[in-house]
Symmetry: C2
């Protein structure tokens, strides 16, 4: 946790000492009354929080926000085939930390339909992993995350994205690093078992170039990081 | 597990049904007598194994090895500051899956000395994560893994590597993707808390270019994957 993040409606209330952020402030950062730490409001400003009082039940905090706006996220729209929840947790956190502006988790023909009813999605747990990624990246901006959609829905949503790429181990025509990307990029990854022929056809029909990440099969979460990193390079 | 891997001295013995590979062959791959599956010997050949008998206590297997040699690993030598064991487990598996030829885990000034005495290193557990990475990549070649060494020891060992790079969030002069790498590459990552001034000096004195992976701080394991991917691109 490189920065302690608050929801827009909670930063003016005392922070309960049972809250994991309070535990972090007192036990990891070892802050006392009068000390400050890096804080931010999700999708809002960043700055310093001062611990004005450590009460029995809660911390009182005061905030001094920077006037600079946080940098925008990168114009990369990620599409990921629903995979095992532990895989998707990592992708939520790491793709967020890397700075993509949206992530769409889609049902695919080879994904298990049961993945969609995991508590990761049904209890709102997914948002916690996004916030962890935002905090890791020392910023406040959250990507848009969508789920409960088909691959076709995601393709339709990204219809206007100039560069569209689908990672594929089997029928790729080009290495991901060789693609000359333009202003914004849609990057689609299949579920753990990859795309079906029908999905490849749908992707090709919609202007997706099938690209590879080398000859070695990677875990979905590893491929997500490697693929995003190769695209980000042009924005650094 | 994309391929079932055996040690050179064990593949001719029956495979106990309590072994996790036997469980995988019977329960995940659902193989019966007469069926085959992808198998390999660590640092040796790859091919097919046939289940000749499913006994009460063990499986009997026969192997048909391919005559082609497995492709070489990529000429990337990774140096990683010892981090928390859960971080190093991921790096062992993912860097192996990506195909680096060596990994050196080094003590750094900001790393916790206790990390070196983790059971990850003292019980040989580290090797299990390497084997998982090899199996993920559907190959048999293992990288060389070293630990119990200082940053200086690793720098000395990689003295002849033509391109030497250290990832750094603070004093980097160049993005990692902008470096024109040559035939082989040494890539050093600090521990979670980064390099000290003294370590940066040591790295610079030894010809390491400090390079960044963009402005957003990443987890060590995420930076490892992103950094390796950017270097691998030239070998695909």
């Amino acid at each position: 946790m490189n920065i302690v993040l608050f929801e827009p409606d909670e930063f003016q209330k005392p922070l309960l000492r049972t809250d994991e952020r309070a535990v972090h402030i007192l036990q990891v950062l070892r802050r006392s009354e009068g000390d400050d730490f890096d804080a931010g409001i999700l999708n809002g400003p960043k700055g310093k929080a001062i611990v004005t009082k450590i009460g029995e039940d809660a911390l009182s905090l005061e905030f001094n926000w920077n006037s600079d706006e946080e940098p925008a996220l990168y114009p990369i729209d990620l599409v990921v085939g629903l995979s095992r929840p532990q895989t998707n947790r990592k992708i939520l956190q790491d793709a967020t930390a890397l700075g993509v502006r949206s992530i769409r988790f889609v049902t695919t023909e080879r994904g298990e339909p049961s993945y969609a009813s995991s508590k990761l999605w049904t209890t709102g747990e997914w948002r916690r992993h996004v916030v962890a990624g935002v905090a890791q990246a020392f910023t406040t901006r959250m990507p848009q995350v969508y789920f409960e959609m088909s691959l076709k829905d995601a393709i339709d949503a990204l219809d206007a994205t100039p560069t569209r790429i689908a990672l594929d181990n089997y029928e790729a025509e080009i290495g991901l690093g060789e693609i000359d990307a333009t202003s914004s990029i849609g990057l689609a990854l299949g579920s753990e078992r990859g795309w079906t022929g029908k999905e490849r056809e749908l992707l090709r029909e919609n202007g997706y170039t099938l690209a590879h990440l080398g000859p070695r099969p990677l875990r979905t979460e590893t491929a997500a990081i490697a693929g995003i990193a190769l695209l980000l390079e042009m924005f650094w």
